[in-house]
Amino acid sequence: MSNRPIEDALLAQAGATVQKMAEMPVGVPGYTLHEERRKMPVTEPPVWPINKDLQYVGHTAPRYDGPEKASGRARYTSDVQLPGMLYAKFVNATVPHAKVLSVDTSAAEKYPGVRGVHVVQHVLGPAELRDPALDQGRYPVVRFAGQPIAAVAAITPAAAEEAAALVKVRYEKLAFVVDLDKAREPGAPPVFPGPADAEGSAGGGGGPTDVHQTGNIHGPSIHRVNDTAQGFKDADVVVEGHYVTQVQTHSALETHGVVADWKPGMLTVWASTQGTASVREELAGFFDLPMSQVRVITEFMGGGFGAKFGAGNPGVVAAALSKTTGAPVRLMLDRQEEHLSVGNRPSSDQNLRIGAKKDGTLTAIHLVSYGTAGCGTGAGCAGPATNLYQYASLHTEENDVFINAGPASAMRAPGHPQGDFALEQTIDELAVKLNMEPIDLRDRIDNHPVRRVERQIVRESALWKSRNPVAGADKGPVKRGVGLAQSVWYRFVRMNSSAEVRVHRDGSLEVLSAVQDIGSGIKTVLAQILAEQFGVPPSQIAVKVGDTNYPVGPDSGGSVTTLSLTPAVRDAAWQAAQKFLAEVAPALGTSPQDLVLADGEVRSRSGKMQPIGFRRAAAKMTTSQISAQARRVPDYDPSKYLTYGGVDVAEVEVDTELGRVHVRRVLSVHDCGRPMNPEQTISQINGGIIQGISYTLFEDRLLDPNYGLMVNPDLDLYKIAGAREIPQIDVRLVEAYIGQSSTDASGIGEAAGVVSIGAAVGNAVYNAVGVRVRRTPMTPAVVLAALRQGGTLA
């Protein structure tokens, strides 16, 4: 409290305490568009109209780095080659649970070409014991097969690999457990000798740290709203189901890894990361370096999906090896390591019970979930049950179950595909029981204004109209079905979002931010914002991102990047533009207030001067560069519009003789605030749909029950949807203005399809065959078993 006056002074300096009021567009054009009054700092730029009245923002601009990516010129971390660079290779545990008695690196050290060997002293990722003293021994206890133990750096990748094979690790094997159900039994081998917790990353994930732990069961974490006992008493109908989902690995195409170059006074790290800032922070902390002496660069990165935050074991070990060898070190994981050691989506085992009135009103939701995040936490999946619908009472119990497997990490909408799979199928089942249309029921229990519009779009779609309301009506072995499900995600704003905009005397414009482009296309969006502000095409803007030398940017996880960063960029651009006009106005013989920037020109409102090209006007600058920096201003009204989402419709064909499910068409109706670049947004939604289908039908991390090793740590038996599994996807973007920032952008990465498509497929399968499949992946084995149980297969 004593610092309050200083903070206030700083805020005042930033213009944050002097407020103004403005009318902002809110709602969905064509449906609910209206104006709402918002209070905002006086330094905020004028309110933008809706997209149709903007020139560049809200319209598709070609991906900024498209030509680099299509030509192979884009340089990813795994492509970085530095003079004298060494290649590092991990030595990993080959058993799932053991004390490490000794690590003999002598033979590796002597191997030709080896320059350094590092023995891991602290493993990042797994849950940490509340009482660290419970883990005794010189080396970290092995809690999963694939846990890094040491690493070797050598002059060639082959030498590193060969030397790594020479490191001798002696284990004292401990009893292990890799099965969720067995791990829950009393007397199961304990993964940890006492309570242990794992915190989430910038992408979410992690679990609560204040819960009980009994054996391997970390939980429950209980959340209650009113009394569900009363709620079920008040119910006219009750539906319940047991749902099981598997562990999925992120399987980003570029594995985790870094190139670390430790020089006196500066550690430079190229990292395949979703957060340059998070890598810098972790390395500075680990090595006790000032932040100013750590630089992290991410020019391009080959996918993360939530697993790539912080330096992690590869980052820390590569930096340590670079320090000791005096040479740059590249440490990229191989595919097997990527599956085993750097995260996954936890499994779930959910018992969900819902009570409702005859009119559909929900009287009670009761969810008990168990799931495993390996030797980490983060298997909670109550988000959809808690946040999607209105209800009279709610009771959720989430439990993490430790097993001897690699720790989970955030994965695209953590917990939500699992929770939605159960919730939205149960809601569908409720609709059947109440003899209501699925959309009518949702209209009754969901008052979110945008999803209501989205359901209306679905209701009017040809795909939905083609749905036969009678389940299992098709004759013949291949049956068609249509189903829908809704998604929900949350508006998280990261205040660590800033940018600098520069105007050069030659008329060139650039924007700088440490933010990384993980494939969502933030570079393009930044160019569009400058284009809008300066009235020049986006192709004339230089975008410099992915380097901690630039103003700090947000970590890209939890759908935060666009909504957090773009207002700061717009503010910086607007301020730079004002400075620019003030700078050139005297030379143009008018006042800055008289000038506007449009269509590549500087124009006079009053007609005092003839329009002049932007470049020619810039030449009149008295200094060679004008710049402005801005940081994120808080949302104008943080009490409003906290969630967003969408409605997905799937059309499936179920081959009831083979138990195969094929998704033929998908209609995906989603909102993300102001869509900044529709084509890029559609790309992300396509991605969410496809990842979700892959998860629902194919992917499964398989651990051998007797030895605790993953049997499919590859990309053929770990099965990911390919070209022939891709449905025709029709994306309808819903412009949904919420009046929260100078760009009014929102996010899409999480809500896009991945949350709801699994449940939509489940509901479509039910519509096709009249049997509910409550387990993923829906392989032929699973579907045939469900059909047999449902009595539709002899």
């Binding site: 082959a158 003789e657 099965k719 022939r724 032929p780 045939l784």
Partner: protein, 333 residues
């Protein structure tokens, strides 16, 4: 991958002279490099036959067809005459692996590829096929494993080309420097694991597969192959069927039905074949053949679902071969 000497050969004789002291033949190299990268094989020398011109090519003869073992899966699947007269073979080669692999992988290599059992393919599991006395699949994860005719090892036959070639009654020529050439039928080419678990085929270390000989099908023969996976884009078969029908009008004179993903080596489903012989091909006879294709099956703990799949794979492929049904759009490859 271990270091090795590469003996690049330009003639069969030159290659044969190199087949000693643990040297291993490399053609397309797809499966061999896979095993070497997985660390389950470390040969000191690779005998590269990729540049042996006499092992290339597809030749039509009055007696039938001779495939050089270096003919790639892509070449075979796209060969007009094979498409016309040996559809089962073009189907099988055209739906194996991925398009790019089919450009590199040779038919000889496809026949000689090792089983895909994940325990066999992992260096961490020293299984019976690698000279130890354990099988990890019986008590472990066996959802993709055999449902019949296994003894010590329930891995499944991985080669789709073999399923087709068995259907066509093909044989292979095996040549050694010392003993000259011998000819072995496709079924006899493969070794059931209980006899000598570390052997997969009868080929000896000093022998080279020098030709694949396919007899000309009888007039009126129709054939087809289909495989089913969990996915459609590149997946290993969870069920597959090769069907060769010698037709006399609408009566099936003789049928050959072959399967790969059911057992450790490719098999003919004799009872299913008998169910079609002398009968017209109809929905009913095809279904009957399908049912009989799994006679005697004993599924493992996690693969009983294959008992549902094979009858359907056989039935649909019989109708496809007979021209009574299109290629199944949900077939893999």
């Amino acid at each position: 991958m271990n270091r090795f000497v590469l003996a690049d050969c330009t003639t069969v004789d030159a290659a044969l002279s190199q087949l000693k002291d643990g040297a291993v033949v490399k053609a397309g190299g797809v499966d061999l490099l896979d095993r070497m990268k997985d660390g389950i094989e470390e040969p000191p020398k690779l005998v590269n036959i990729r540049n042996v011109a006499e092992l290339r090519g597809i030749r039509e003869t009055p007696q039938g067809l001779t495939l050089g073992p270096l003919a790639t899966l892509a070449e075979i699947s796209e060969h007009p005459s094979i498409r016309a007269h040996y559809q089962i073979l073009s189907d099988a080669c055209g739906h194996a692996a991925t398009p790019h692999i089919r450009n590199m992988a040779t038919v000889g290599g496809n026949l000689l590829q090792r089983v895909q059992c994940w325990y066999y393919r992992s260096a961490e599991f020293t299984c019976i096929r690698k000279g130890k006395d354990l099988c990890f699949a019986f008590d472990g994860l066996n959802q993709y494993h055999a449902i019949m005719e296994y003894d010590g090892c329930p891995s499944v036959a991985p080669s789709s080309a073999a399923v087709a070639l068995l259907g066509l009654g093909a044989s292979v020529d095996l040549t050694s420097a010392k003993r000259g050439k011998r000819t072995v039928g496709i079924r006899e080419f493969y070794v059931v694991p209980d006899a000598n678990p570390t052997k997969f085929t009868v080929i000896e270390p000093d022998e080279l597969l020098t030709a694949i000989v396919i007899p000309r099908p009888a007039p009126g023969t129709r054939s087809a192959y289909q495989k089913y996976g969990e996915k459609e884009s590149f997946d290993w078969a969870i069920a597959d069927a090769g069907v060769v029908l010698e037709m006399d009008g609408n009566i099936c004179r003789r049928a050959v039905i072959t399967m790969g993903a059911a057992s450790p080596v490719v098999r003919r489903a004799a009872q299913a074949e008998a169910a079609l012989a002398g009968k017209p091909i109809t929905e009913e006879t095809a279904r009957a053949a399908g049912r009989l294709s799994i006679e005697g099956a004993q599924p493992l703990s996690k693969n009983a679902y294959k008992l549902d799949l094979f009858p359907v794979a056989v039935y649909r492929t019989v109708l496809f071969a007979a021209g009574l049904r299109d290629r199944d759009p949900s077939a893999a490859g």
